[in-house]
């Protein structure tokens, strides 16, 4: 589809259009120039010939007419005709007409070349006239003149000479042939010039296009070369300046983002050491609380509990910052999903509170720890916010590409605004419940863990009420060897 579009774009592209335009211009100029040159040269050649023929003819007729007496018979008329023809070259045929007599210097010649129109012109205007005629594709010049007496009154004798114009037409045809031979190179040259000039325009345009596409693909470092001082060079320069500005601002944004993420990671990291010490000694507070005065005991227990909470929060923050910085990696191991889910439930003492449907023998490559985190989060939420019975269903899709773990409860379900934000960080569904048991990051971390596997978690409300969370993971099967 794209390829076809691109090919079509090539076809109606700038290069094609330029070449066509150049070739058309070249053709038009060549044809026009040829036509003009042909016409001019043809006219010049023919006129020279005509003048020469007319002059020669006139001289011959005058000489011959001097020996011609009227009234004439066929013999004297023939003599007159051949006399005129003698001086006019080999190919000339002279026809003389006197009253009803018509003779020709060459008996076999075709007299029809002397048209009635010419005869009438000679007769009516009583002066030399000429006409070009074509016979069998050959051009001829026919000149006719009345023979007049001194008083310019017509004698009744008309002489016509037919001479071939073949040499002249061939000479002018030579011009045409030369042009016809020359037009192919001219058109080719025009095409080459068009391609060259298209290149000078297209190369920068293409380069700009390529650079733009690279930018779109996220490589903001690409620039175009600025050549020359024309508008395209200006465009290239503008592009580069824009790219510089864009790169700078994106780099700045990324830097800020990275700084913010690093800060969260650093803070979390820094919190770990005091927390490690506090977490360690919290046991002592718990162990000795019973021996303390009631107020002190409560304070001790509170410190111990809050230390544990703070420690979970920092853990979650660290986890989140690892996702944000791309430092989270999958540690895939072949796992029996039913076993893993059962382990998650029993580790937290939830086995009796959740109805499970766990088909055995579903083995997949997953990150056990992360799957545990996801399942624990979904089940924990269902137990805390939903209503029993909580059901957990492990299933595989018929195509065998996906695994699903569905956790459903029979509580009131999720209101629409909660559905939209349930995976947001620190989102508290119940505004009254400002202190959640968790860090507020649990669901967001669960989703990130699913995404890291290439999967998702979907939140919805079941057809019979209650929230339904579905973990969907790509089913990577372990490569197995049978022992």
């Amino acid at each position: 589809m794209r390829v076809a579009r691109r090919a079509l774009r090539r076809l109606v592209g700038l290069r094609t259009r330029l070449v066509v335009a150049f070739v058309l211009i070249a053709l038009a100029s060549a044809v026009t120039a040829t036509a003009l040159a042909y016409r001019e040269s043809r006219t010049a050649v023919l006129e020279r010939k005509q003048d020469a023929v007319r002059t020669a003819f006139k001289n011959r007729v005058e000489q011959a007419a001097a020996d011609f007496d009227v009234p004439a018979d066929e013999v004297s008329l023939t003599r007159f005709a051949t006399g005129v023809a003698d001086g006019l070259g080999d190919d000339a045929v002279v026809v003389a007409r006197y009253r009803s007599l018509t003779v020709s210097s060459d008996a076999s010649a075709d007299r029809s070349r002397i048209t009635p129109a010419l005869r009438e012109a000679v007769r009516d205007h009583n002066r030399m006239s000429f006409q070009r005629v074509e016979r069998d594709g050959r051009p001829y010049l026919v000149v006719g003149t009345p023979v007049t007496f001194d008083g310019a009154s017509p004698s009744g004798l008309d002489a016509f000479a037919v001479t071939s114009l073949r040499a002249e037409s061939e000479a002018t045809a030579g011009v045409l042939e030369a042009v016809r031979d020359g037009i192919v190179p001219v058109v080719l040259l025009a095409a080459v010039l068009a391609l060259l000039s298209a290149g000078t325009v297209l190369r920068p345009v293409r380069e700009l296009g390529r650079a733009t596409r690279r930018h779109a693909a996220g490589d903001l470092s690409s620039r175009v070369r600025v050549r020359g001082r024309d508008e395209l060079a200006d465009l290239a320069r503008d592009f580069n300046e824009t790219a510089d500005a864009l790169e700078a601002s994106v780099a700045e944004l990324r830097e800020q983002d990275a700084r913010a993420k690093r800060f969260v990671a650093d803070v979390s990291h820094e919190l770990r050491t005091p927390l490690a010490a506090m977490t360690m000694v919290a046991t002592v507070l718990d162990e000795d609380a019973d021996a303390l005065p009631p107020d002190t005991a409560q304070a001790a227990r509170t410190v111990s509990e809050e230390t544990a909470r703070l420690s979970r929060l920092v853990d979650d923050l660290m986890e989140m910052s690892r996702f944000d910085s791309g430092a989270a990696h999958l540690n895939l191991t072949p796992t029996d999903l039913a076993e893993a889910v059962s382990a998650t439930l029993s580790l937290r003492g939830w086995t009796d509170r959740v109805r499970t449907e766990l088909p055995h023998g579903v083995r997949a490559l997953v990150d056990r720890r992360r799957v545990d985190v996801i399942v624990a989060n979904l089940v924990g939420n269902a137990l805390r916010h939903g209503a029993p019975p909580v059901t957990l269903t492990l299933a595989t899709d018929p195509a065998g590409d996906w695994l699903t773990v569905e956790v459903a409860d029979r509580g009131p379900g999720l209101p629409p605004e909660t559905l939209a934000h349930v995976f947001d960080r620190f989102y508290k569904a119940d505004s009254a419940r400002t202190r959640s048991e968790g860090s507020g990051l649990g669901t967001a971390i669960a989703l990130e863990n699913a995404r890291l596997h290439g999967g998702t978690i979907e939140a919805a409300n079941g057809p019979e009420g209650g929230a339904v969370f579905t973990l969907r993971l790509p089913w990577r099967r372990p490569r197995e060897e049978h022992a």
């Binding site: 990291h269 770990r272 050491t273 005091p274 927390l275 490690a276 010490a277 506090m278 977490t279 360690m280 000694v281 919290a282 046991t283 002592v284 162990e287 544990a308 420690s311 920092v314 853990d315 660290m318 986890e319 690892r322 430092a327 990696h329 540690n331 191991t333 072949p334 076993e339 382990a343 998650t344 029993s346 580790l347 083995r363 056990r368 720890r369 545990d372 372990p478 490569r479 197995e480 060897e481 022992a483």
Partner: protein
């Protein structure tokens, strides 16, 4: 009671661990740097130490290096790493350096103690006393020694237990989860990389060609089995 060495640069964390472990009856020695720890362990007084809890992030010689030097010196002292980050690379590097187990900071006292107890138990003599010869690899279950073609091989307790566990049922396939529970006593959701790392270290010591193991074979998709040789 057991003698534990805590190697931790942060004074509060060190004091906290020391306080809790002393209260629970352990003999505790402490070191603030890797250099101090190595010096202490090299000293005759350090011979009493039965287990080290080692923070990876130490100034100067870090935890990885301390672990590597101990193992290079033939020490079979059980080492539990404290990682300040749950970062995978740290864990893998630490296990490759020869640590037996790891805990992620902040760790609660009960978890740390459970790990210490499990690591110490691996060093105790086992009940089934018999010597076996597996194609040149002689395992003495009573004396907890391993020798190959008559040459003794020093194995830290974790690797030794792993070998005992696997060789007790030759040709039986153990999943990583089973091994985590029986050798490390991790219960559910232990990190199977502990098993892989220990198998790797063990192969480096007992196999002729670690890349083409005879004794400890991988059964892809399931786990490991010993032999059949």
């Amino acid at each position: 009671m057991a003698h534990v060495l805590l190697i931790e640069d942060d004074v509060s964390v060190r004091d906290g661990m020391e306080l809790v472990l002393r209260r629970h009856g352990y003999d505790v020695a402490t070191a603030a740097t890797g250099e101090d720890a190595l010096a202490l362990l090299a000293d005759p007084a350090g011979a009493a130490v039965e287990l080290a809890v080692l923070d990876l992030m130490l100034p100067g010689v870090d935890g990885f290096e301390v672990c590597r030097r101990l193992r290079a010196g033939g020490s079979t002292l059980p080492v539990i790493m404290l990682t300040a980050r749950g970062d995978d690379t740290d864990i893998v590097r630490g296990l490759e350096a020869g640590a037996d187990d790891y805990v992620v900071k902040p760790v609660t006292a009960p978890v740390l103690e459970a790990r210490i107890r499990a690591a110490l138990r691996r060093a105790e003599p086992s009940q089934s006393a018999r010597g076996e010869d597996h194609a040149g690899l002689v395992i003495d279950r009573a004396g907890l020694t391993v020798a190959k073609r008559g040459v003794p091989i020093a194995l830290p307790p974790t690797e030794l237990r792993l070998l005992l566990e696997l060789s007790a049922s030759p040709a039986h396939v153990f999943s990583r989860e089973q091994l985590l529970q029986s050798v490390w006593e991790h219960g559910f959701l232990g990190d199977s990389r502990l098993v892989d790392a220990a198998v790797g270290r063990l192969r480096a010591k007992i196999e002729d060609i670690p890349a083409r193991p005879r004794y400890i074979q991988t059964v892809r998709g399931f786990g490991y089995r010993f032999g059949p040789v």
